[in-house]
Symmetry: C2
Subunit: 153 residues, 2 copies
DNA sequence: TTTAATCAGTTTAGCACTAAACTGATTAAA
DNA sequence: TTTAATCAGTTTAGTGCTAAACTGATTAAA
């Protein structure tokens, strides 16, 4: 609590800079990823869906939404698109819909995932190993702190 | 060049983790910001437009697009919305359109910007000053590296 | 001077996402 | 047993974004 008031003007500016850098890096990275994925006619969000389904199948739409931190409505819409591309299939089971990759989906998964992961990882090769570890640690710390403090409100 | 091939399997996994954390932090942060801004009926991207115009006015749509790293088409659309809200006005000057805040826009700018900046900055108060500096340094380094290497392709 | 290049902004089609209201089925409480 | 709560997924309206094609005006080259 005190921290908020202790935060000096100078520190506020510093944090603001961090936020701008983070947002810019994220956007630049998404753009590059989309370019890289376009050779398989995929977008980054479709890729994310593919990774989650391929890794955790069979799973429900609800579970998928939770893993990706998006709404159920979003899942409904994007899965329909993947279904049209014949990459994912849905089976009504009990009262939920169970998602699985199709044969075509599995093949794409096997080909794209390793390459795209290599690509995404290469974004951080400008740092040495120590720096990479430190960056990960700091990001984790920020996230943990924010999760804790937002619960109590 | 060599770096790419030197990159060990282990390091790739580490970098992938960084990417996931970064994306998650970004999304969580955007969501919180949107919530915080909803009391003024603004979204984060409208806020960003307001900040840029308020800080650099008068400026053209082209210049605004460059500052925000978005397309001209996006600017056209979002400025129309801000115009409808009577926060921004456009004047055709020579062959460009010059953007300025309206009186209403100036008032909102004066009220919201300091509060929202304080809020955004508070996201990183889980780190001490040294850690904040280090995080900024690392983000910069990643960005610089990526800018350099993407030019040559 | 006609012709072509350039340049600011607009339009269109489509993907991604949310909040909020809504279905339809299951389960629990009265 | 009727009534209400819950729960998975869907729909709708609206914002935000891109790529790519397009206007209309200015400027340069032939």
């Amino acid at each position: 609590m005190l921290k908020i008031f202790n935060q000096s003007k100078h520190q506020e500016k510093l944090n603001l800079l961090i936020w701008f850098r983070l947002a810019r890096l994220y956007h630049a990275s998404i753009r590059l990823s989309n370019q890289h994925l376009s050779q398989w006619n995929l977008t980054t969000s479709q890729f994310d869906l593919l990774v989650q389904i391929g890794t955790h199948q069979p799973l429900s739409q609800q579970e998928l939404a939770e893993k990706l931190f998006v709404t159920k409505g979003n899942i409904t819409q994007s899965i329909v698109r993947l279904e049209k591309l014949e990459l994912v299939k849905r089976d009504q089971e009990w009262r939920t819909k169970i998602l699985r990759l199709t044969k075509k989906g599995e093949e794409l998964f096997g080909e794209v995932v390793p390459k795209q992961e290599l690509f995404q990882a290469s974004q951080f090769e400008g740092l040495n190993k120590e720096e990479q570890k430190e960056l990960l640690r700091l990001l984790k710390k920020v996230e943990v702190h924010n999760t804790k403090t937002s619960i109590k409100e």
